[in-house]
Assembly symmetry: C2
Homo-oligomer: 364 residues x 2
């Protein structure tokens, strides 16, 4: 098997060691004679691994004790609905920061609920979402402010909590940056993330929420209710056992690598390598404002659609996979999550240089 | 590793060949150099396996062309909510047949929705759910009748569609019997099933629904909307790739074994072996009315709580695992899903005989 590097935005590359371990113990988990695919969610085998996964995640993200951790299903898209259903019960008003596609999806989904009024308090629309909008001081009363921390498609990212959100109740979509950058959980009331980028395989959603939020939430259907899920410790019904198990292995791998601070450092090195190549080249261009650039999702273009297409084809031939940009922005996109090794980024940069040499004279 | 037999009610035993295949190709799916855990749901690798899984399921269950097949998340519990939200929009009235715990959960979840009126049209309460209730002729107008086809906890099962439901719109929870008994899809408007019993690993829910139901459904949040999920072919957001992949392997295994008819035959042989042992013994007793007995979930008791406990302990020592009955009914329960080999049931029956010999004189 040739070495390949998978730059997909998600589902994405996992640590090779984790995949190997899953493979090794797949037919008999912990010498039980049963596969992890077959064990009951009411067994101590599962309870132990879920507890370990939660504790390791708490250690990695330094999650304060007054926050609950949930392992759910349905992806960020179901969280668009759940956050609004659970948390917008005082004023019914939610403030959204529009940073592109995924924040717009969150707004759309909230709009579908009765008695919910989404308000866009800031938008990157003018810059075509190549920059993050300034967030004004907020005087109106909202149940919470929703923020997409990292914009997987547009390649922008909040490197810290915007100053005008410091005293707000903030709900954050961290799907494509969680565990990759050292955010402070205490800055947020609720964080959610689909697993299929920096956590584990698809089919799992992690939710981290301040325990005091659980007060006064209406009596919702069980699978849509944070209080009911918290009360049953995410095992209100059968949870996605295998995805939680694999996420747990990823958490252990992250701890062995030095945790989130070490990941952030690595991610900064990897991203800088690619951004430098883009800056130094005559062929490649990043549309994103420098200060707002994402560490994990890096879109770039040549300026020619034909050349972009050729780039992706030739890269694929070299084992550099899934570099095609999202259809909404075109061009290329390299996703450099925690599990993408530095060697992969180096190989990508070398390929970019070679490709540029082969197309000399094509202006930027 | 000693051979064990896993009699859990779900997550449950999978075909050994399937687990082996998952293990073998885990580090490189279809020679892609990527694990199935890493492939994009927008890749042809995934699209092809999803299409194959759907086609194989259609063949196995002879699903008519005017039915859609969905691969969702959230388990049967989310279907309790989704069925009501999507389908109870004409009269708001749903008829429920109360056959025990899981049908009651369905009723509870429907009750939490505004403008929904659940009506229990028949109940097995009088028999303590050891028998299925007669279903009366229905003259009132309901949006649909909800039926739990196999009752995992109580060990009862509808062997065919009750005659008074023949001209009704029927929604069926088939979680613990799907693909194990030859039901006719055309008898139902909608069938749902959590995967973790007869389909694959936990974290996947299969929904089969008549296409014409999709008309006039209100504009619901995307993850709760059948029309939106159908329109996007279950990839409205990132689906549980690995669970769909593994389910696909189970479907291929079922086809190789002769399909659902062959499975039903095997399941009847396995169940009969155990029911005969119960009938012939002086120690064991099944509380369930003979005509209503499940093929897949078989509860039994000794009549003594201490002896029940000892049975489970001794069985576990012999590698006969997860025989403890559900806390609501106590005693023992053997779940004999498709992937439970005949050899496992034979070994259980032998153990039961040995255990009875060792406790001779203990009256039934």
């Amino acid at each position: 098997m040739p070495q390949v590097y998978n730059f997909a935005a998600g589902p994405a590359v996992l640590p090779a060691e984790v995949v190997k371990q899953v493979q090794q113990e797949l037919t008999s988990y912990q010498k039980s004679g049963m596969s992890i695919l077959e064990i009951s969610h009411r067994s101590s085998l599962f309870t132990n691994l879920q507890t370990a996964a939660e504790n390791d995640l708490r250690q990695l993200m330094q999650i304060p004790v007054d926050y609950d951790v949930l392992f759910l299903q349905g992806g960020a898209t179901l969280q668009f609905t759940m956050t609004a259903l659970n948390l917008a019960h005082k004023t019914g008003k939610i403030a959204f920061v529009d940073t592109g596609h995924w924040s717009q999806r969150a707004i759309q989904e909230a709009s579908l609920l009765p008695d919910i009024k989404p308000t866009v308090i800031a938008s990157g629309k003018e810059s075509k979402f190549t920059a993050l909008p300034d967030i004004p001081e907020i005087s109106e009363n909202f149940d919470y402010v929703h923020l997409t921390i990292n914009n997987t498609i547009e390649g922008t990212m909040y490197h810290q909590l915007p100053v005008n959100l410091k005293h707000q109740s903030v709900v954050a979509d961290m799907s494509s940056i969680i565990l990759g950058y050292n955010y402070q959980v205490k800055d947020f009331d609720l964080i959610y993330a689909g697993a299929q980028k920096n956590i584990g395989p698809a089919g799992l959603t992690v939710v981290i929420l301040k325990h005091e939020l659980l007060k006064n939430i209406p009596d919702l259907p069980a699978m849509l209710s944070y209080p009911k899920q918290v009360k049953k410790n995410s095992t209100l019904n059968t949870p996605p056992v295998f995805a939680i198990y694999t996420a747990g292995l990823v958490f252990k791998w992250l701890l062995s690598q030095g945790g989130v601070a070490a990941m952030q450092q690595q991610n900064e090195i990897k991203a800088q390598l690619l951004y430098d190549e883009i800056a130094n080249s005559k062929l490649y261009h990043s549309p994103v404002t420098v200060a707002d650039r994402s560490l994990t999702n890096i879109p770039f273009v040549t300026g020619s659609k034909e050349l972009d297409t050729e780039f992706v084809v030739r890269a694929t031939e070299k084992g550099l996979l899934n570099l095609k940009g999202h259809r909404l922005v075109g061009g290329m996109r390299a996703s450099l999550y925690n599990a993408m090794p530095l060697a992969g980024v180096k190989q990508l940069v070398e390929f970019m240089q070679q490709f540029e040499m082969n197309h000399e004279g094509v202006a930027k």
